[in-house]
Structure formats: C-alpha cells, structure tokens
Amino acid sequence: MAHFLKVALIGNPNTGKTSVFNALTGLNQKVGNYPGITVEKKEGSCRLNRTTKAHILDLPGTYSLNASSMDESVVIELLLNRNNKDFPDVAVVVTDVENLKRNLLLFTQIKDLEIPTLLVVNMSDQMKRKGISIEVEQLQADLGTQVILTSMRHQEGVAALKEALVNYRQLPTTPLLDLETIDADYFSRLQKTFPTESLYKLWLVITQDVNFSSLERKRIQAASDFKVQSDAVLKRLQQKETIKRYQIINQTLKQTYQVNNDAATDLRSRIDRILIHKVWGYVFFFALLFLIFQSIFDWSSVPMDFIDSSFAQLSQWVNAELPPGLFTSLLAEGIIPGLGGIVIFIPQIAFLFLFISLLEESGYMSRVVFLMDRGLRRFGLSGKSVIPLISGTACAIPAVMATRNIENWKERLLTILVTPFTTCSARLPVYLILISLVIPERSILGINAQGLTLMGLYILGFAMALLSSWILKSYFKTTTKSYFVVEMPNYKMPQLKNVGITVLEKTKSFVTEAGKIILAFSVLLWLMASFGPGEPFTKADTIVREANINNPLTEEALEAEIASYRLEHSYIGILGKAIEPVIRPLGYDWKIGIALISSFAAREVFVGSLATIYSVGSEEETPIKNKMAQEKRANGQVVFDLATGISLMLFYAFSMQCMSTLAIVKKETNSWRWPLLQLGLMTVIAYVTAFAAYQILS
C-alpha cells in the first residue's frame, strides 16, 4: 500500500505557487473553503514514486508569519497545530527568483518552526534574461535545506521536487535564528517556563492571536513565574526579530545571489540600464523635469487668464448689481478676490499632479528613488529619505509622517528637519504669480524663461534641503548603518482611471483644504483693512482733500489717494507699518508685510492677502496680476520689480511658513525643541538670502 505524505505549499503572493501546485497535481485537485471562513482551500494529490503518494495543500499566499489578514491567519493556525489533520510532514516554500530576498523572510520563519522545509526557487527561466546567478550548493548549506530551481513555464524541476519530497526526512530542522540574540533575558525565561515547547512556536502564540492545541495563550499568561510583557515591548521585539532575519538573509545572499545588470537582456533591464545609469539616469531625470515645468507654464496660461478675468468681472457685477453696503464690499473686495486666488491655481496644480502620477504609475518614480539614493548618503540622509523629500513636493505634512519608516532616529530627525525646504504645492501659487510678474514671458532658444525659473526654484528647494542636512549631520553623528531596500516594479502603461483619480483628489484637496484657510484670511483681512482707529481713518476723506486743496488733482486720482490713505491708517495698515522697518531691507513695503504676516500661518494665503489688500477701496476691478504690476512705491518705481520679486521668492523658498508643519514636527519628535529650532533656522536663512538677493539686484 502506498505511503501518504502531507505536503503544504507556502509562499508570497505572485511567486507562481499555484503553477507549482498545478504541475504536481494535474487534474487531481479540489477547491473548497476553510471551515467557517471564506478563504479558499485548494488541495490535491500526486504520486511521487511507486511507493509514495502526496496529499498537497496549496496554502493562501502570505508575506510572513505575522498575521495581518484572514489568509495569513489560516497559514499560521495550521503550522502551529500538530493535531490539525492537515499539519504537513514537509513544507515547500515557493519563492520567485527575482524577489528572493523578500521571499526568504517567510522561509526563515517556517524553518524555525522545526518543520522539514524545502526551498523552491521558481521562475528560474528568467535568470539568464535578468542576469541572475545563484550558488545553489552554498545557499543550501547556509539555509540548511535543499534548494530546487524550477520553471513551471518549461516544466523544469518538477521531477527534482518530487524526489526531494520523498527524501524529506533528510532535511535538517534546526532553527536559523537564535531568538536569544534578540533578548536573552526574555527568551531564556520563556524557554525555562515551557521547557518542552519549541521557542519560536511559543513566541508566535504570544504575538499572534492564535492557539495551538497543546498550549494556549491564556496558559502562558497564567504561568506565575513568567512576566507578560506589554504590547509595545512585544512589538519592539517583533521588529528586532524581522531585522535579525533580514541580516541573516542579506549575509546569505551576499555570498550566493548575484545580479549582473550588464548581462541582463530583457527590455526592462535594458531600459533600467539607462534610467538608473549614474550619468544618463540624472540627465534623463533632469530633462524630464525640464519638460514638465515648461508644459505647466505653457498649457495653463490660457485657462488661468480666463479664470483671472472672470473673477474680476464677477466682482464688478456684484458691485453694480447688489445694493451698496458693507456686505457687498466684503463680497466684491474680500471674498471674490480671495476665491479667485484659489481657483486660478487649479490648472497648474492639476498639471503638476498629472505628471507626478504619470511618473508613479509608469514605475519610473521607483527608479528616481533608487537613483537619488546613491547621492543622498553623502548628505547624512538615509536612502529612505527620498520618499519624504519627493512627497514633500505635494505637502510637508504627509512627508514628515512618511519618515516613520526610517529606523535610525538621527537620520529620521535630519530628514524631518530638512523636508520643509522642498517646494510644496502651497509655495506654487506664490512662485507662479511672482514669476509671471518679474520674469519676462519670452523664449530663449525655444525655452520658456518662466518655466525655467520655476524648475530652478524646485531644484533650489532640494539643494537647500541637502545643504542644510550636510551641515547638520556633523551635529547628529550616526553610529549604526541602515539598509535601503526598494522593489522596482515593472514598467507599465499608466491607467488613465488611476491618474484621473489622483489629479482630482489632489486638486480637490487643494481647493477645499487650502481654500478654506485662504478664504477665512481674506474675510479677516478685509475687515482689518476696512476699519481703523481714530480720526485719520474715519476722516480720511476730509484730511486728504484739505491736504490737496492747492494741488489740482482729478477726482479719480483724489479718490485713489483717499483709499490709499485710509488703508494706511486701518488696523492692518498699522500692523504692516509696524513691521516695515524689519522688512524694508528686503525690498518689501508694508502691504507685502501684511501678506507676510498672514502667510505665517500658511504660505498659500499670500496671493489671496495681496488680492484683498489691493482690492479694498479700489473702484476698478482688474485681475490681481495687473493690480500687482501697477503697484508703485512713493518714489514712483514699481513695487514688484526683479529685485523684490527674486527676494520674495527666496524668502518663500526657505522660510517655515506653515503652522501645520510645525505642529506635525512637534507631534513626530514629541518635543517643541525641534520645531522651534526649525522655525528659527529657516527664518534666518530666508531673511539672509532674501536680503542678499535684494541688495545685490537693486
């Protein structure tokens, strides 16, 4: 009578596990459900040789034995329970040759359960095309198992796998990881309390919500001489376990697994060879950035002009059609210009996120992360700092939160401190309006000068982040080394639906999140500009007329003079005047001062504030850009000339004008020390560079 062997196929999703299952069982398979849950149970049988048959169970795909889904729980419950009728005699871990490192984490965990475990390296037909070579004998010795290379596409390795299954008793079952190296005290006490149990099984029962028949979680907790640890301590030990496992895997693969990209022949490798090349990779990346910023300016100019003039007309209509009064003024001079300051940036923000999501969807963004990693280490940052720095182009808040996956605290702190230098989307409106005012709209050799300036500002943000990190790194000396692992997805055509959703979500979030603040500030600024203390404000009309009694001015010029006098003596005017001595060396007048103060809460408020200030008391409704261009100093020079424009752009590039970012840095560092240091340093850098720029250019 044939001997029946119970085999469990285990592996990460997408490793070709089901193909191995099909190759072994053919048509002898049935699909059901695990009792009580909807997880699919696939089992089948096959003949291994004349005397041995195998019952094969294809377990759901899982990344590790730390259960986070029902599928993964099924795998753990089975492997921990020897009394389960499906408990395997031998486990077969199926891995994908391209992602061996990630796949081996699960292998080391299963091996440590002291079950005889075979390692199948599948898709071996890809090795030549991908330039991969494996030292099989060395890998077998290091992992304490038998390694079988298979290719289900070419039906290779099936016979070898069957033979290895028959001889499963020869597989060593010694664990790969000595748990006492994680925490000697904790694990030795655990083992002493339950001397007959496998230590890794005990550990899994403690950390996972599963039981196995001979030992229940409650019994461990009830053991009087064993102290139960808090969830936080257990989590930390679990993290240490994963790091230790990856150290073992890295060490093993360093000796046994080589990827020679130059020998690879597939299309993806050929494209990668250029895109992550140490010279061409950067050339391509910067050329692409250049194209993107050119297009943002070129394509969005028409809709922006349309929006700008529509809002000016709307203000005019409100003024003409609604009954005159306080609220009508608030609508025409506060709310509508404030709203215009939000809506006008929709085309450019939508185009920017369109390009960013196209890069992400196509798989190119991972190459950028990889490319940049090489250079970043020199600046004291981790390879993982790339993600916060790149996502900082959208918003510094999620970017600061994305630093959580940097294990090394000092590298993480450094990344948090420098991330707000990257050009976030809130800076974009400020840059766009200033560039269109001070940079001429002309092409040099077909290159749009405005697009070039915008690209320069993005690069400047990154450069300042790197420079300050390089300076700060000597104060934060790191002693531990960190590893950087990034999985390169295959290139693919971006899905229009995904791209569309990203663009819509991001634009909507700008309009609703930033828009609400801009609008609220516009209302308050209008109030502060429309009221003032004492006679200079209330009797502005009489004062100005008396002062000009001998000065023949047209009624129109006189009205403008009165409006300007009134604004100067309003509450906001007094505030702006108070800070004018500090900002005058930067080339700013008190009106820009007001916009600076209000944008310390959030920088996107700048344009809306100026729109409101310039609209108050003004009879003609012209687009904000024209109003800014017409604004003159006392000596008749335009306010927004090249020197002031550049000085303002530099100020906004480097200063920390975002209360929400400060709040999130406080939350992430759990101290006011770091956000205050960040605020102080960034303000000083912004002031000094803006001062230098203005003094040199004027």
């Binding site: 609220f327 608030l330 603040i517």
Partner: protein, 40 residues
C-alpha cells in the same frame, strides 16, 4: 437693509474666525491639514 449687510458681515467674520481657530488651535478636532489620503 443696512442691518442685514452688517449681520452678514458679522456672520462671515464669525465663521472665518471659527475655521481658523479650529484649524490651528484645536487641530485634533477639525479636519486634518493635509490631503484626505493621509492618516494624520
């Protein structure tokens, strides 16, 4: 109709102040400051 205009302006000012207060002084009770997709 002047009283209506003043009332509306007062209401707008109140709403603006309330929004800024909830956003910057009580951030935990308001909607988060970044996009919908992050879990802050």
């Amino acid at each position: 109709m002047d009283w209506l205009q003043v009332l509306l302006v007062t209401l707008a000012a109140f709403l603006a102040l309330r929004l800024l207060y909830r956003r910057f002084w009580m951030p935990s009770k308001s909607d988060s400051s970044c996009g919908k997709n992050c879990d802050c």
